[in-house]
C-alpha cells in the first residue's frame, strides 16, 4: 500500500457510489432519537421500490443539528430532513421524483449551517464512519502519505508551528511548540496520547468527531507520531462514549489492514501502533498527568509539573498529549499548509473551533466556526436565541470556566478574550442560560461537581471544594451572613493558588465569575446581620 494505491482506492470508492446518497445520521444524539429504525425503514423502502441501482442509504456521522434528530440528508443537493420517523422516512424517497414528502424539511440555508467553516469536522456527516474506503475517498490518509514520503520530521513540526494551532482541549498551548519539545526530548521510546476523556459537562465535540470521522483522528495521531519520533499511541477515551469506542476500534482494525497503521506504514520504515484505553468515570483523568496514571492502570491522581509529559510522561518516556479536536485539525493543515490555516481566525487564535451548543437555545448541536466569531452570532444568529425568552448568560469552559453575561455577547470568541471575561475557551461546550436560571444554583452545581470529582490527593482541593460547596448551599438556603460570603471569596482565592492540578486551580472559576457578573443575586440571599 503506497500513495498511488490510496488514490486508486479513493477513485474506485467514488466510482462505486450510486447517483443518490441518502445520508442518515448515526451519531449518539440521533441514535437516541431512533435513527437506526429510520435508516432501516429507508433501506426497506429502497428495496421495495427497486431503487437499489440508483440509491444508497448510508449511515453517516453527525449532521450537526442534534436537537432536531433524527436527521436525514439527500445528495446530490444536500436537502435536509428533520425529526424523521420510521413512518415518514420512506416518503423522503418520493422527493427523487418530485412527489410529496411527509417528513419535515430542515432549512439547510439557515445561519446554523451557512456560518460554519468546517476543518476538523470537514467530512463529518458526509461519510460512513465505519468505512475506511469512504474516508480515503474524501482525501483521507493523503496527509500521512505526504508526510512519510515528502517531508522530514522537522518539516512537519514547522508546518504545524506555522499554522498557529493551539491545543483545543482547553488550555490553548501552542501545538507546534509542544511537538517540537517532544521531538527534541532525548529517549528511544516516545508515546503519543490522544486525550479523548471529554469530561466537561455540556461538551460533546470530541465524541462527535470520533463517532463521525475516527480515521481523521488516527491520521492526525500518526502524523504527530512521525513528527516527534514515536511508534506507539494511546487513545484514552471515556467509557460514557460506547459508540465512539466501538467506531475507533473498528477504525484501528481497518487502518491496520489497509497498512496505514501498524508496522511499515505505507511501505515506509515508520511503525505506528495505536491502543485504546477506556476510562472509568473520573473527571480528573482529563488532566494530563492523571490521564497518564490511568493509562498505566493506576488511580487517576495528578502529579506536579515539571516534569512535563513532553520530558517524562508515560512510563517516564517523552509523551505528546493532544486532544481529539487538535489531532483532527492536523490532516488539513498538512494538506493545505500551515499558512492557509493561520489565515483563518484572529491574531492569536488561529483556525476554527468546534462548539457544542446546548441549554436554553433554539438550535442545539455541533458547530465549527472561525475563531473570532462573536458569542452573539453563535448564540443568537446560529443558535436562534432563547425560544420565548432572552439570553442571561453563556457558560463556557465547564467546571473550569465561567458564565459570560448577556452584555458581553459581542465578544469575539478567542482564547484571550474569554480569559479576560473570567471564563476560558475550554474544550468547546457552550450552554445557554435564560432569565429563569438561578446563578447561585449554577455556581453550587459546578462546586458540587468539583467536590465529587476531586481526586483527594491535595488538601486545598479536597477540603476546599467541600467547604465552598457548604457555603454556597448556605447562601442558596438564605442562611449565610456577609462574613460567610467574604469567607467564600477568600477560600476561592486560596484553592485557586494552592491546588496541585488544574481541577482545583480552576474549581473556583464558576463561583468567581458568577459573583463578578451576578453578585446581586448572591447578596440578595444574605442575612442582613
Amino acid at each position: 500500500m503506497d500513495r498511488n494505491d490510496l488514490q486508486a482506492i479513493a477513485d474506485q470508492e467514488r466510482a462505486s457510489w450510486k447517483p443518490v446518497r441518502v445520508r442518515c445520521c448515526t451519531a449518539s444524539g440521533c441514535l437516541a432519537t431512533g435513527s437506526l429504525t429510520v435508516k432501516k425503514a429507508l433501506e426497506q423502502a429502497v428495496g421495495q421500490r427497486r431503487l437499489g441501482d440508483r440509491v444508497d442509504v448510508v449511515g453517516v456521522g453527525c449532521l450537526g443539528l442534534c436537537g432536531r434528530g433524527p436527521l436525514v440528508a439527500v445528495d446530490p443537493g444536500g436537502e435536509l430532513f428533520q425529526l424523521v420517523t420510521a413512518a415518514d422516512a420512506p416518503s423522503i424517497l418520493n422527493a427523487l421524483d418530485g412527489g410529496p414528502v411527509s417528513a419535515p424539511r430542515c432549512d439547510a440555508r439557515q445561519p446554523f449551517f451557512t456560518s460554519q467553516l468546517k476543518i476538523a469536522t470537514e467530512t463529518s456527516g458526509l461519510i460512513d464512519p465505519e468505512s475506511v474506503e469512504e474516508y480515503v475517498a474524501g482525501g483521507g490518509y493523503q496527509a500521512l502519505a505526504r508526510v512519510l514520503t515528502e517531508m522530514s520530521r522537522a518539516d512537519v513540526v514547522q508546518e504545524v508551528t506555522r499554522s498557529g494551532l493551539r491545543g483545543r482541549g482547553g488550555a490553548g498551548y501552542p501545538t507546534g511548540l509542544k511537538w517540537a519539545t517532544v521531538a527534541r526530548s532525548p529517549g528511544g521510546r516516545k508515546y503519543v496520547v490522544c486525550n479523548a476523556d471529554e469530561g466537561d459537562p455540556g461538551a460533546f465535540m470530541d465524541r462527535s468527531i470520533m463517532e463521525s470521522d475516527p480515521h481523521r483522528v488516527l491520521e492526525g495521531m500518526a502524523v504527530a507520531a512521525f513528527a516527534v519520533g514515536a511508534s506507539h499511541g494511546f487513545i484514552y477515551i471515556r467509557a460514557e462514549y460506547p459508540a465512539a469506542v466501538a467506531r475507533l476500534r473498528t477504525a484501528i482494525e481497518q487502518g491496520k489492514k489497509l497498512g496505514v497503521l501498524g508496522s511499515g506504514v505505507l511501505e515506509t520504515p515508520f511503525d505506528f501502533r495505536v491502543d485504546v484505553r477506556i476510562g472509568a468515570g473520573a473527571y480528573v483523568c482529563g488532566e494530563e498527568t492523571a490521564l497518564m496514571a490511568s493509562i498505566e492502570g493506576k488511580r487517576g491522581l495528578p502529579h506536579p509539573r515539571p516534569p512535563y509529559p513532553a520530558q517524562a510522561g508515560l512510563w517516564g518516556c517523552p509523551t505528546l498529549i493532544n486532544n481529539v479536536e487538535t489531532f483532527a485539525h492536523v490532516p488539513a493543515i498538512i494538506k493545505k499548509g500551515g499558512e492557509w490555516f493561520a489565515g483563518i481566525g484572529t491574531e492569536k487564535s488561529k483556525g476554527t473551533k468546534v462548539f457544542a451548543l446546548s441549554g436554553k437555545v433554539a438550535n442545539t448541536g455541533l458547530i465549527e466556526v472561525p475563531m473570532g466569531t462573536t458569542l452573539r452570532h453563535i448564540v443568537e444568529v446560529m443558535g436562534g436565541g432563547v425560544p420565548g425568552g432572552r439570553v442571561k448568560a453563556v457558560q463556557t469552559g465547564g467546571p473550569s470556566g465561567g458564565c459570560i453575561p448577556a452584555e458581553h455577547l459581542d465578544t469575539p470568541v478567542d482564547y484571550e478574550s474569554l480569559t479576560r471575561l473570567g471564563s476560558i475557551m475550554g474544550s468547546g461546550g457552550m450552554i445557554v442560560m435564560d432569565q429563569d436560571t438561578n446563578m447561585v444554583e449554577v455556581a453550587r452545581f459546578f462546586m458540587e461537581f468539583c467536590r465529587d470529582e476531586s481526586c483527594g490527593k491535595c488538601v486545598p482541593c479536597r477540603a476546599g471544594t467541600v467547604q465552598m460547596h457548604r457555603l454556597l448551599t448556605k447562601i442558596a438556603e438564605r442562611r449565610a451572613t456577609h462574613a460567610d460570603f467574604e469567607g467564600l471569596l477568600r477560600l476561592c482565592g486560596m484553592v485557586r493558588e494552592t491546588s496541585l492540578c488544574g481541577l482545583g486551580q480552576t474549581a473556583p472559576n464558576p463561583v468567581l465569575s458568577a459573583v463578578r457578573y451576578f453578585g446581586d443575586e448572591f447578596k440578595a440571599l444574605l442575612q442582613s446581620i
Binding site: A32, E240, I278, G279, A280, S294, F446
Partner: protein, 164 residues
C-alpha cells in the same frame, strides 16, 4: 492457565483469564481487566478483585484502590433494571433535578441505591455528551432524550411491581 482458573468452577473467570492473558498479565492493564470483570459479573465482587490481583501480580490493596477510585466500577450487584439520570450542565439547565427527584420519589430510593426487591438501581452521571436532546435518562443502557418527570415516572413504574 490451570493455576489461574477459579476454584468455584465459574466459567466467567475463564473469560477474565483470557483478557489478562491477552494483556500479557501486565499490571498496566488493570483498568481494562476490571472493565471486563464488570462486563462478566455485572459488578466487582471480592472474588473477582482477588482473582485479578493474583493474575496481574498486584497487591489486593492496589486493585481495590483502583476499583473504588473510578465511579463506573460498582462493588455492589446492580438491580434487574438500571436507570441513570444525566446531571450535566445542559441537563441541569433544562430541569434534570426535577427528573431525578421524580424517580427518587417514585421508587423510594436515592441516587446510588437499589430498591429492596432488587428491581431497580438508580444512579447519576456527569454528562454523557448528548446534550442536544437534554434532559436525558439512560434506561437499561439505552439513552432517551427530552425527559420530563412524567416520562420517567411512567418508565420506572413499569419495572416496579406495585408502582411503589
Amino acid at each position: 492457565m490451570a493455576e489461574s482458573s477459579h476454584p468455584s468452577g465459574d466459567d466467567r473467570f475463564k473469560g477474565l483469564d483470557v483478557t489478562m492473558k491477552r494483556h500479557q498479565f501486565r499490571p498496566d492493564a488493570l483498568i481494562e481487566v476490571l472493565h471486563k470483570a464488570e462486563d462478566l459479573f455485572g459488578f466487582l465482587g471480592h472474588d473477582a478483585l482477588f482473582h485479578v490481583a493474583r493474575g496481574l501480580k498486584l497487591p489486593p490493596s492496589r486493585v481495590y484502590g483502583v476499583a473504588t477510585f473510578y465511579h463506573l466500577f460498582s462493588l455492589k450487584p446492580p438491580g434487574a433494571h438500571t436507570c441513570v439520570v444525566c446531571l450535566g450542565t445542559a441537563c441541569f439547565v433544562k430541569g434534570a433535578d426535577r427528573v431525578l427527584k421524580a424517580i427518587e420519589e417514585c421508587a423510594g430510593i436515592k441516587a446510588g441505591e437499589t430498591t429492596k426487591d432488587n428491581q431497580l438501581s438508580l444512579s447519576t452521571v456527569r454528562c454523557i455528551g448528548t446534550c442536544g436532546i437534554a434532559p436525558l435518562a439512560v434506561y437499561d443502557g439505552s439513552t432517551v432524550g427530552y425527559q420530563t418527570p412524567d416520562d420517567v415516572r411512567r418508565h420506572v413504574k413499569e419495572w416496579l411491581p406495585h408502582g411503589s
